[in-house]
């Protein structure tokens, strides 16, 4: 039962502020992913919780106790490092046993716990090996085993699978999820990979330049990004963002993206919902799957030229040229056969996002 809370945490490296007024509550058993580009302060935040880094202001609470003045050892938190940090001169068994030996557990109990965790992680047959004789995935399993073996209050993971190759990453991702469901401990996981974040997290915390951008379930941050940064950071391929103008056209609305010769039709209610932001420069955000493409002209469809086609197997990403504006659309694979074809596209209003261009904040318009 562990709850972790960050209250107004600030951290400077010299004159650079790496964490700016961070407030966050992590509930018991929750799997939180800190997501952001490198240098956004996510690893520093994690290390501050672990006790490897001091903070300049604010409080870190574990189960209601402030811990920012405690050493790492006193916080009873386990951590898995990106570099694995296995002890090179010790066998796998000794590596996993290390935290137990450090606290002088009796030998029989230690042995049974080490073997149990090794079996859970499927490394029971590697116990006599040295870390240097292990594959990347097994090293990671040992590192996780070392963290789990003493049943810590919370698990911190700093890009734990970032150093593995793509296929192994996918495998380990599933395994970490399985372990979390089985062992169920409060976990903070740091990554720059949004697919990892989406697939693992109960809630995702998106950080940018030391500032928390949005906290929410994977679905929330994907379908309701609070600002342009989150909109473009989460989701692959990236959301289309274009400066846009909204106009009234009889009993409907038209959204014209800058550079395009013709506007996209939207329901009239958009006008009412945008009333509050009249006069502000707007940006339209639309994910590639929200750009619907047809071969034939139809009601509300705007002609476009297919520019570049990226076949990705299960679907294609097609760059569509509307005048001077380019929007990326997701189509069935092979739908647009060759570059230069004329196609017709419209925007699904239900998937459109509107942002205040100046502040980057979402206007919260949902259709």
């Amino acid at each position: 039962m562990t709850q972790i809370e960050l209250r107004g945490v600030q951290k400077w490296f010299g004159s650079v502020q790496v964490i700016k007024d961070l407030n966050l509550v992590i509930e018991d058993n929750e799997f939180i992913v800190l997501l952001g580009q490198s240098g956004c302060g996510k690893t520093t935040t994690l290390r501050a919780v672990a006790g490897l880094e001091t903070i300049d202001e604010g409080d870190i609470l574990i189960d209601g106790q402030t811990v920012q003045h405690l050493k790492a050892a006193a916080r009873d938190i386990a951590m898995v490092f990106q570099s694995f940090s296995l002890y090179p001169h010790m066998s796998v068994y000794e590596n996993i046993a290390f935290p137990l030996r450090a606290t002088r557990m009796n030998r029989a109990e230690l042995d049974s716990q080490v073997r149990e965790i090794a079996n859970v992680l499927r490394i029971g047959d590697l116990l006599d090996r040295k870390p240097s004789a292990l594959s990347g995935g097994d090293m990671q399993r040992v590192a996780i085993g070392r963290a789990l073996v003493r049943q810590p209050k919370a698990m911190l993971m700093d890009e734990p699978i970032g150093a593995l190759d793509a296929k192994l990453r996918e495998e380990m991702r599933a395994e970490i999820k399985r372990l979390h469901l089985k062992q169920g401990s409060t976990t903070i996981y740091v990554t720059h990979d949004q697919i990892e974040a989406m697939s693992l997290a109960d809630r995702i915390v998106i950080m940018h330049e030391g500032v928390l951008q949005q906290v929410g379930t994977p679905n929330e941050v994907y379908s309701r990004p609070q600002n342009l940064f989150v909109a473009q950071f989460v989701g692959s391929p990236v959301m289309n963002i274009a400066a846009a103008k909204v106009a009234q056209d009889k009993d409907a609305a038209t959204v014209t993206v800058e550079g395009a010769p013709q506007g996209f039709p939207f329901p009239a209610e958009l006008l009412g919902k945008l009333n509050g932001s009249a006069g502000k420069a707007l940006s339209l955000g639309i994910r590639p799957e929200g750009v619907l493409v047809e071969h034939e002209a139809g009601d509300g469809f705007v002609p476009a030229e297919a520019h570049i086609i990226e076949p990705l197997g299960s679907y294609d990403i097609v760059d569509l040229q509307f005048g001077d504006q380019m929007l990326r659309a997701r189509t069935r694979s092979g739908f647009v056969e060759k570059a230069g074809s004329r196609v017709y596209a419209r925007i699904d209003p239900a998937q459109a996002h509107f942002f205040d261009t100046a502040s980057g904040q979402s206007l919260g318009v949902r259709l």
């Binding site: 050892a73 490092f81 001169h89 030996r101 450090a102």
Partner: protein, 302 residues
């Protein structure tokens, strides 16, 4: 086209350059002088003295050398005085090497953190090692002086005798050696310590290991191989020690094996016999080194 033209003009030139001296010629130029030097000054005397060690040759007498077989070796190994010299040497080696490891490794631990003027301090600490043995011997003789030496003055020992005291003299020599060579152990230890990745200490902190536990389970095992190398070097040197002991004192209790050897060869002129003794010392040093190297390999494997 332009590239091709350049290539064709350059090519013969570069070939001409390499024609000047082939790889083989360069190799010989570098290696042959070294080999000649080694043969003339090391291998030849080594072999020649091996020959002498089986004779009763005396360099001071015109009498020709007579082959005496293993007699020199037999007599030396049965000579209780020689064994006393070896015992003194062993005591000296143990005291001096252990002292250097404790002081050198200790100072390295202190230096292995962020402290101001770390580079300057390290350099200054290395100074003793750079001095000549003879200089060190002479000024430590003054430092140890019972009536005006600064050591007695600083420690308030009155007229305590260091070098002329038969029970103390060997330790005094060892202390000087520790002062002079601890920096060497420190330097190697420092290299070993800074090679221990910082994230291992972080992992140990997270794993709730105390500082002593971290030291014995992480630091020491990872520094052990390079520390072993320092110990091998220092043991070999201490075993052969001559100058310091010779300059500082002339006590029978400080007569380490090299001094005995020197006296046998150049004061008693028992050239053949001293050659045999030199060979006995050589074999002993090789044996000790081998034991260490075996142990080093074991440490490395761990």
């Amino acid at each position: 086209m332009a590239t091709a033209a350049v290539m064709t003009t350059l090519d013969p030139k570069s070939r001409a350059a390499s024609r000047g001296m082939s790889d083989l010629a360069i190799r010989n130029l570098f290696i042959i002088p070294t080999i000649v030097f080694l043969i003339v000054f090391n291998i030849f005397p080594l072999m020649y003295s091996l020959g002498y060690s089986f004779t009763d040759f005396r360099a001071s007498s015109p009498a020709p050398a007579n082959f005496v077989g293993l007699q020199n070796y037999r007599e030396l190994l049965n000579d209780p005085f020689i064994w006393t010299n070896f015992a003194i040497t062993a005591k000296y080696v143990i005291v001096s090497v252990i002292g250097q490891v404790i002081v050198g490794f200790g100072v390295a631990l202190l230096l292995n953190r962020d402290i101001p003027f770390k580079g300057l301090i390290t350099t200054l600490l290395l100074l003793p090692m750079m001095l000549s043995m003879a200089v060190v011997g002479l000024f430590w003789k003054l430092l140890y002086d019972p009536s005006f030496g600064i050591i007695n003055y600083a420690l308030g020992l009155g007229t305590f005798e260091w070098l002329s005291n038969p029970d103390m003299a060997l330790y005094a020599v060892a202390l000087t050696d520790i002062w002079m060579w601890s920096p060497f152990v420190m330097l190697l230890s420092l290299a070993g310590l800074s090679a221990v990745p910082k994230h291992l200490y972080e992992a140990a902190a997270i794993d709730r290991a105390g500082s002593l536990y971290t030291f014995f389970r992480i630091t020491l095992p990872l520094v052990a191989p390079i520390l072993m190398i320092a110990i091998i070097f220092r043991t070999m040197e201490a075993f052969k020690t001559f100058d310091l002991a010779y300059i500082l004192t002339s006590q029978p209790t400080t007569e380490v094996i090299s001094i005995r050897l020197y006296k046998m060869a150049f004061q008693e002129w028992q050239t053949g016999r001293s050659c045999a003794l030199a060979y006995i010392v050589l074999i002993m040093v090789l044996a000790i080194t081998n034991i260490y190297v075996k142990y080093l390999n074991k440490v490395k494997e761990r």
